[in-house]
């Protein structure tokens, strides 16, 4: 395994792990809020969260580039105050990846929470337990399959992300060149052997993750409904 190959795989893994960790931290409170909120614009918020599932990555990537650009007030402000340039950097790709994978984290969690009977939450409240204790001790343990699905889907999705990384990050070795882009690059260079190695690894990781999801959900199927 040559150094560049290892570097690309390491970067791919780093992007997927960071995206997943950030999304767990954002996704749990957000899915909780979304599941029980009564705000009128909830359908709009749900639609916005799901947009990455229907839009081509190039659309989101384009808007991210526009926002990151120093010619835009946000990009300009970031550059002046923090000396940060997000376009064509790992951090920029990471933010785009978080936004792009948001529905894969939020939707399973949201569905899991909605599927729980309201009486569980209400029973915990009437037993004097705070919303925080109720969430961690009652709700979260009872949507374990949804949590596993959300984490595995998010991870698998960010490992395989292509379009948005290419749009926002380009193809910079060690910075934004992840496995999916490397495959494209190697094929363009007619270097099929290297492309095959990357492709096989991505294929296996995705297969293992999805098999894990389905076997876990099968185990919980009988357990779910009392």
């Amino acid at each position: 395994m040559d150094a560049q190959f290892a570097q690309t795989l390491w970067l791919t893994l780093k992007l997927a792990v960071s995206t997943t960790i950030i999304l767990v931290l954002i996704g749990l409170p957000f899915a909780y809020w979304l599941a029980y909120t009564k705000v009128r614009i909830k359908p709009l918020i749900e639609a916005l969260v799901s947009m990455p599932m229907v839009l081509p990555p190039s659309v989101i990537g384009y808007y991210m580039l526009v926002i990151y650009s120093p010619r835009n007030w946000f990009g300009d402000w970031l550059g002046r105050i923090f000396d940060v340039r997000l376009a064509f950097s790992f951090e920029g790709v990471l933010i785009a990846s978080v936004i792009f994978s948001l529905p894969f984290m939020v939707q399973p969690l949201h569905n899991g929470l909605r599927a729980l009977p309201d009486s569980l939450r209400e029973a915990s409240y009437t037993l004097g337990k705070s919303k925080m204790i109720t969430f961690f001790k009652v709700l979260l343990p009872n949507i374990k399959p949804s949590v596993i699905t959300a984490v595995a889907l998010t991870f698998a999705h960010s490992i395989g992300e292509f379009g948005i990384v290419l749009m926002v990050g380009g193809n910079m070795p060690g910075e934004t060149r992840v496995a999916s882009i490397a495959i494209y690059d190697e094929v363009q260079a007619l270097n099929f052997e290297a492309a095959n190695q990357y492709a096989l690894i991505l294929f296996l990781i995705s297969l293992i993750l999805l098999t894990t999801i389905y076997s876990v959900n099968k185990k919980y199927d009988t357990w779910r409904m009392m």
Partner: protein, 295 residues
């Protein structure tokens, strides 16, 4: 304990299967009693229970528990369920599937100690199931866990939402006795939703009848449901299942609460205000019934 009286005067507009309905409740519930909320389904019983628990917020009114105001729309006071020190036993029991029987009961304790859960599990015959999760329990066992959990909270007010509706007749009677025992032992004011007349007579010392969102009658079950002018010694309550005409008389079939079928002769003028589905009482004088030992 006169200051433990619950005072309710609330209004809530609610949407039911039969369209919008106004729940308008004025009631005083004495401390330490076992009170039944009786009425047809859709009359607002469960909503009233949930209003007391703080899970449903009334549109306006006042709820006072002793000297503590739980809800006052004029002063914009609404105490959250967590701080009302109540226990609500849900119709579906709402046991936490991720916890064992023991953990469900421990979870409800305001302060952790091991002796109280042990006593409760002993009292409800749950000790051998302590390590089981709720999905491995029968309906009756779940119901016991739910009751034990509700009591572990050491509530000032125990609310039971049709606690026995999902059980068969035999199990129901056993558990009715357990509820009475628990109530006697702990003396906690208890409000129980029921649409089973037998259950109300067996358990409750007070009954509030709800019809279409308002309380129509209150008092002791015998005063509320029985006509005082009747000096019957044998009294069976039930529902009319069938009315058959035979020559000049009618045979009315009544099914009592524990599924006994009783046939009664009636004349045309008796039937003027009776129809199938009506709740009725079949009674007889003391010298009329004949007694015989059951084999």
């Amino acid at each position: 304990m006169a200051n433990d009286v619950i005072f309710i005067d609330v209004e809530k507009r609610m949407l039911t299967a039969n369209g919008p309905m106004n729940l308008v409740i004025q009631a005083t519930i004495p401390a330490g009693e076992l009170v039944a909320l009786f009425g047809e389904s859709g009359a607002g019983k469960t909503t009233l229970l949930r209003i007391l628990a703080g899970l449903v917020i009334p549109d306006k009114g006042l709820i006072r528990f002793g000297n503590t105001v739980w809800f006052d729309s004029a002063k914009q006071i609404n105490i959250v369920p967590q701080q009302r020190n109540i226990s609500l036993m849900f119709q579906d029991y709402a046991l936490f599937p991720n916890m064992t029987v023991e953990q469900n009961i421990q979870f409800a304790q305001p302060e952790k100690n091991q002796s109280a859960p042990n006593e409760l599990m002993e009292m409800f015959g749950l000790s051998e199931f302590r390590k089981r999760k709720p999905n491995g329990l029968s309906g009756g066992q779940k119901q016991r866990v739910a009751l034990a959990r509700a009591l572990a909270r050491k509530p000032q007010l125990l609310l039971l939402d049709e606690p026995l509706s999902a059980l068969d007749a035999e199990m129901r009677i056993t558990l009715q006795d357990e509820i009475v025992q628990a109530h006697k032992l702990l003396g906690v004011t208890t409000i129980m939703v029921s649409h089973d007349l037998n259950e109300v007579f067996r358990l409750a010392s007070q009954v509030l009848c709800l019809e279409n969102g308002t309380i129509t009658r209150t008092g002791k079950p015998e005063d509320v449901f029985l006509d005082n002018s009747i000096s019957g010694k044998v009294q069976i309550t039930g529902q009319i299942a069938r009315i058959e005409k035979q020559d000049t008389i009618y045979v009315v079939t009544v099914i009592s609460g524990n599924n006994q079928i009783i046939k009664v002769i009636a004349f045309e003028n008796d039937l003027e205000n009776l129809k199938i589905g009506d709740r009725v009482m079949v009674f007889s004088k003391a010298f009329n019934p004949i007694i015989s030992k059951l084999r």
